[in-house]
């Protein structure tokens, strides 16, 4: 039968045996874990009540571990830069086929709705689940929808460069202002009253930084999508 030639049975049985060994070892090691562990999360939840931010994960990502988010933005920037350098071709791509009429009408109707939803998720990141990463990628998927359906649409290069530069520089500038005012990098220098928890203007610099992160992530994803679709020899 052709099935026996397709699946390498000896490799699969070797994998299954080693998998069973690893699983028994892990289960024996994990049996001694107690059900409720007192970790650093409880302390952070108690500290979070002083910041006045309703979403605890946002406070951990932006404020308590803000330096890791700065490094992650740097990694995204390097990946987008490498992709733009590698996919370099002299010939401009000319798409020969016009897309369907239904696709063009539907994408023109859906684009502002998806954009508005992405901005909403980005701005309300400190009150409900959401934030900068999710909102930025939603905005990039709206741009991707227009890129697929219209063959002359292109986001101008200067706009994306301006947005990325503004977002990256202002993140570091806000951190430096915190260093000047409060003696800690990325300190919270705007008023953050605990009685304001749940309102839109609360939490100090936390919503401001998350909006900046969202702008940067959204423009980088749009750049990656545009490089992959538009820079090819013939599509």
């Amino acid at each position: 039968m052709s099935l026996k030639r397709d699946l390498p049975t000896s490799t699969m049985s070797g994998f299954a045996l080693s998998g069973i060994l690893v699983l028994t070892l892990l289960n024996i090691l994990l049996q001694n874990m107690p059900n409720s562990i007192q970790t650093a999360g409880n302390e952070l939840l108690k500290l979070n009540a002083n910041e006045g931010v309703a979403n605890a994960v946002t406070a951990v990502v932006v404020y308590f571990r803000g330096f890791d988010t700065l490094g992650e933005i740097a990694v995204l920037f390097i990946a987008s830069l490498g992709l733009g350098l590698m996919l370099n071709s002299n010939t401009k791509c000319d798409i020969k086929a016009e897309s369907n009429f239904m696709l063009q009408t539907a994408s023109r109707l859906l684009f502002p709705i998806i954009l508005l939803f992405g901005i909403y998720v980005m701005i309300y990141g400190h009150l409900s689940p959401g934030g900068g990463f999710q909102g930025g990628v939603i905005i990039a998927s709206a741009v991707l929808l227009l890129l697929i359906s219209h063959k002359e649409f292109e986001v101008p290069h200067a706009v994306i460069i301006a947005l990325e530069t503004f977002a990256g520089v202002s993140y570091v500038l806000i951190g430096l202002v915190g260093l000047l005012v409060l003696d800690t990098f990325l300190g919270n220098f705007l008023p953050h009253d605990i009685s304001q928890m749940g309102l839109l203007l609360s939490g100090g610099i936390i919503p401001l930084i998350y909006i900046i992160v969202g702008i940067k992530v959204g423009s980088e994803m749009s750049m990656i999508a545009q490089n992959l679709i538009k820079r090819s020899n013939d599509v």
Binding site: F133, Q134, V137, S141, M221
Partner: protein, 79 residues
Amino acid sequence: MIGFIILVTFIGIVIVAFSAVIQKKLADSVILLMGVGLGSVVLFFIFKAPDVALTEAVIGSGISSLIFLMALKHLDEKV
């Protein structure tokens, strides 16, 4: 009830992932990879982690599939 749902979802994810690795046509395995992302979003929702579920939903189904499909187009595969 929750334990039963977790067990059934895990069995579904493993079967879909195994079928994605075995397929001959490459476009089919990209679509089955989106199925793995869907099952993982359901599991993150049951584990009471809403931020992680949102991020995995937009990245696993939107951007990751775009990257693989455009790579297949550039490599002249029969899509």
